[in-house]
Point group: C2
Chain length 82, copies 2
DNA sequence: ATGTGACTGAAAGTCCGTG
DNA sequence: GCACGGACTTTCAGTCACA
């Protein structure tokens, strides 16, 4: 599993857990609205600076956003990367 | 402390802990030697893809390279970012 | 074995819009 | 509220020569 996909998933999951819209997150992190959308759809390779800014708004450590899921055996194949 | 600097330090520390030269690390990660040098000197905002490739060679999780030092009280002021 | 400036192509990232 | 596109600027990715 590519790191980009890990990031994309974590980003979306955490954002929704926080009850934020893409627009709100974008605004608070000082990032373009459409770019957040792209990141969640695994279109780009974000820089660590962007990861950190998003992590801050989401209230977690930057490392959290790059954490791979600890081998979910239920895990169906990804729909983000195929 | 900026995430870039955190990354730069962790990279250098882990590389040296592994007893690798920049050249060896560069070779194994398929990255140019001078680029590694730039990253360790905090010149660029690495992409998560690069972080992941380096982490793999260093035998750690990508998230490890972005972990902030847990507030080292001995910590003198950085020489990387001033 | 590393730091640095200069360089180029490629991708990141912004800003405008649409359905 | 989000996906997706086109056009645009800035920064990274990657290589070279040199100290």
């Amino acid at each position: 599993m590519e790191i980009r996909e890990v990031f994309a998933r974590n980003l979306r999951a955490l954002r929704q857990a926080k009850g934020l819209s893409q627009e709100e997150l974008a605004h608070q992190a000082g990032i373009d609205r459409t770019y957040i959308s792209s990141l969640e759809r695994n279109v780009y390779n974000a820089s660590i600076d962007v990861v950190d800014r998003l992590a801050e708004v989401l209230g977690v450590d930057a490392a959290e956003l790059l954490k791979r899921p600890s081998d979910d055996l239920q895990g169906s194949k990804s729909e983000l990367d195929e």
